[in-house]
């Protein structure tokens, strides 16, 4: 007679060390084998879109900070680009360059958190602290520029809240020289570590066809092998003036599109971001960063879907304007929200430990998923 067995439902989160925030995963298990993963979100819902309908365009900027709080600069950036396109505001070139510098530094900072916490999820504690040490440098640069370390409210519609600090360029160059060895160190300590590779290669494989249909963007999509980056393919700001590569997953350690590929794409992207920052610092033009900030943002009747390449993927703002002070509707397309939505498909048939490995490789920020 066969023993009667039943599946066990394990609730991971909302309070769990590696759900990266208040995410609840309802994991259905057969022993340690994952049958299904059902994400439950909304614990951090702050009605961003409802708020937007009652605020004027410039007032929304600080609210965007709080979505992806690890990449606030880029949220500001995306929003400013969207509104400027809709209101046809031309910004001075210096503003664009500074935005790109900030955006790329922010990308490095965000990837550092992603990689560090990913190591932590897999059980390697030390790389996390090494990476956070360097993230501190970037945060200090931001603090020097705008006074804030996490939520900047720096990139405004039509300009910036402050010009660069006189020391900024020098300190940024210092950071770049000191940061390159850290990437090498990270590769030695974690990326090529046998145990780490065993844990992440061939885990949570996302084939390219599926990735596109599922709406995966950013490192998720590039990890699956598609050379697609909005900075080049749907360019905005002054990104077309810089020379940089788009790293893609090549399946070096396993299958194309596995967790290791997604991880490694982020490592390579940091190098590319450094290149962009260096070029931007070299070409940095003079100008008044507040010159184009309108006294009152007048947005004509119309609508726009504008998207930028956030560290986590495609960050889109869909804005409908009725020609009033406040937007009629703002819909955000957060990258993590979409990337998280198919975690169940990635985890099926793996073990419990792999759920963590897959979740970490997606790199979600719950502030952005729930808005």
């Amino acid at each position: 007679m066969a023993l009667k067995t039943e599946h066990m439902v394990l609730n991971m989160g909302p309070q769990h060390p590696s759900t990266h925030g208040v995410l609840r995963l309802e994991v259905e298990l057969d022993g340690e084998l994952v049958i299904d993963v059902r994400p439950h979100i909304g614990y951090l819902h702050r009605c961003f879109e409802k708020h937007c309908e009652a605020l004027s365009y410039p007032q929304i900027v600080p609210y965007t900070d709080r979505m992806d709080y690890l990449a606030s600069m880029y949220n500001n950036f995306g929003y400013a680009v969207a509104v400027e396109r809709l209101a046809k505001i031309e910004v001075p070139e210096r503003v664009d360059y500074i935005r790109v510098i900030m955006g790329e530094l922010q990308r490095i900072a965000s990837h550092l958190v992603a990689l560090g916490t990913y190591g932590l999820d897999i059980g390697a504690f030390t790389p996390f602290l090494y990476l956070f040490r360097d993230r501190e440098h970037i945060l200090s640069l931001f603090e020097m520029t705008c006074g804030a370390r996490l939520l900047y409210n720096y990139i405004w519609v039509g300009g910036l809240s402050h010009d660069l600090h006189p020391d900024f360029v020098r300190k940024t160059r210092e950071f770049i020289t000191s940061f390159r060895p850290t990437i090498r160190e990270l590769n030695d300590l974690l990326s090529y570590n046998k145990i780490f590779v065993e844990r992440t290669a061939n885990v949570g494989v996302l084939p390219l066809e599926t990735a596109i249909n599922f709406g995966a963007t950013g490192p998720m999509l590039r990890g699956s092998g598609l050379k697609f980056d909005l900075r080049k393919d749907d360019t905005y700001s002054v990104y077309n003036k810089f020379d940089f590569d788009i790293p893609v997953g090549k399946g070096l350690m396993g299958t194309i599109g596995d967790s290791w590929d997604r991880y490694y794409v982020r490592v390579l992207e940091m190098e590319e971001s450094l290149k962009i920052v260096e070029q931007a610092l070299d070409q940095l033009p003079e100008g008044d960063v507040k010159a184009a900030i309108p006294k009152k943002v007048k947005v004509p009747k119309g609508q726009i879907y504008s998207r930028v390449e956030n560290p986590k993927g495609e960050l889109g703002y869909f804005i409908i304007s009725e020609g009033k002070d406040a937007p009629f509707r703002v819909k955000v397309r957060p990258p993590s929200f979409v990337n998280l939505s198919f975690i169940g498909d990635l985890c099926k048939g793996h073990l419990v430990a792999d759920v963590i490995a897959v979740l970490g490789s997606i790199d979600i920020v719950l502030g952005e998923v729930d808005r």
Partner: protein, 356 residues
């Protein structure tokens, strides 16, 4: 130790009690205090941090403060738990690791009980902790604890096999299960240690060296797994299972698990030291012999034993802060597909070498 105390006090019962309590107060507690501090400082050093530096000189009293905190903490027993098992489990786990110390020779005169089946006893008694862990996981009535406990049991039982096989290899060479005897014959200089083929200059010794090194690597890996340290800390993998089988424990009961873990760390290091690295023997003669003070020798021996044990504890910490964690199936693969076959082959080859 017991014999000496009996002679000294003329009372077997008091001698029993003293020799039972002695390792706890003389060794395990101070060691745990020191090891936790060491772990923090080592990890801080490796991670470019400062570590504890506020309580006492360079944070030396940090663990004492921690213990005080743990004692004062509320002892939470969740509603759905099986109270008896829940309360008994930490005690059992601690008994398991504490009992091991009974047969470990700290120095030639300081050994809990100089039994002839020391190694066998250690292998057997360390299994008690498994029951405690399973009990803790089950009684907690928490899925994370249960999964952690199941993993732990599977892991500890699997890894006892390569450990036992390596122990068997040593027993074959020495012809004894008595740890004191095994330590004793590796005397004088470090090339007499079993990692270097054992005492005496014979062909056998040199033939044995590579196989002894293999055996040492195997037993070190498997003991690392037995005490659930990274990269084998799967039962308490914090990123997956929160804290594994001790998720629901707080206060003093948690401290018991904690203490047991650190006691275990030293216990396995001590075993490895005893059978491969000459136990309490000095690597190069004794000062006591040199200046003619024979009573100094046991103290020196204790010193060397502690140093060697601490070195292996340090290596454990070093690994912990360097390596990521294996997955449960990879852990089992490592044990059953690699360690056990290698240990077996090693055992057979050593057997053949010893025949000639």
């Amino acid at each position: 130790m017991y014999e000496i105390l009996t002679n000294l006090l003329n009372n077997t019962i008091i001698a029993y009690i003293i020799s039972a309590i002695l390792p706890l107060f003389v060794f395990i507690l101070p060691f745990a205090l020191f090891a936790v501090y060491l772990e923090r400082k080592v990890s801080a050093f490796m991670q470019d941090r400062l570590g504890p530096n506020r309580t006492g000189y360079r944070g030396f009293l940090q663990t004492v403060a921690d213990i005080l905190k743990l004692i004062q903490k509320e002892d939470i027993v969740a509603a759905g738990t099986d109270k008896w098992f829940f309360n008994f489990a930490p005690v059992l786990v601690f008994i398991g690791s504490y009992a091991v110390f009974a047969a470990i020779p700290f120095s030639s005169i300081y050994i809990g009980t100089n039994t002839d089946i020391g190694l066998f006893y250690i292998v057997a008694v360390s299994g008690i902790a498994v029951a405690g862990i399973l009990m803790a996981g089950w009684a907690s009535n928490n899925k994370y604890s249960l999964i952690g406990a199941m993993r732990s049991v599977a892991q500890v039982i699997s890894y006892e096999i390569p450990t036992a096989l390596v122990v068997l290899t040593i027993v074959m060479i020495t012809g004894s299960l008595n740890l004191n005897f095994i330590s004793d014959i590796q005397t004088q200089y470090f090339w007499n240690w079993y990692i270097f083929g054992g005492p005496g200059f014979t062909v056998t010794k040199f033939l044995l060296i590579p196989f002894m090194i293999t055996a040492f690597v195997i037993i070190y890996i498997s003991t690392l797994a037995e005490v659930n340290r990274t990269p084998f800390d799967i039962p308490e993998a914090e990123s997956e299972l929160v804290a594994g089988y001790h998720t629901e424990y707080s206060g003093m009961k948690f401290a018991m698990f904690f203490l047991a873990e650190y006691a275990n760390m030293f216990a396995v290091s001590a075993i490895v030291t005893s059978i491969f690295f000459g136990g309490y023997q000095s690597p190069f003669g004794y000062l006591g012999n040199l200046i003619g003070l024979t009573w100094l020798i046991p103290i020196e021996q204790l010193f060397w034993f502690t140093i060697k044990g601490l070195f292996f504890v340090f290596v454990q910490m070093w690994l912990r802060w360097t390596l990521p964690r294996l997955r449960v199936d990879q852990l089992m693969t490592l044990c059953w597909k690699y360690l056990i076959p290698y240990a077996f082959v090693n055992l057979i080859i050593v057997g053949i070498i010893l025949l000639f």
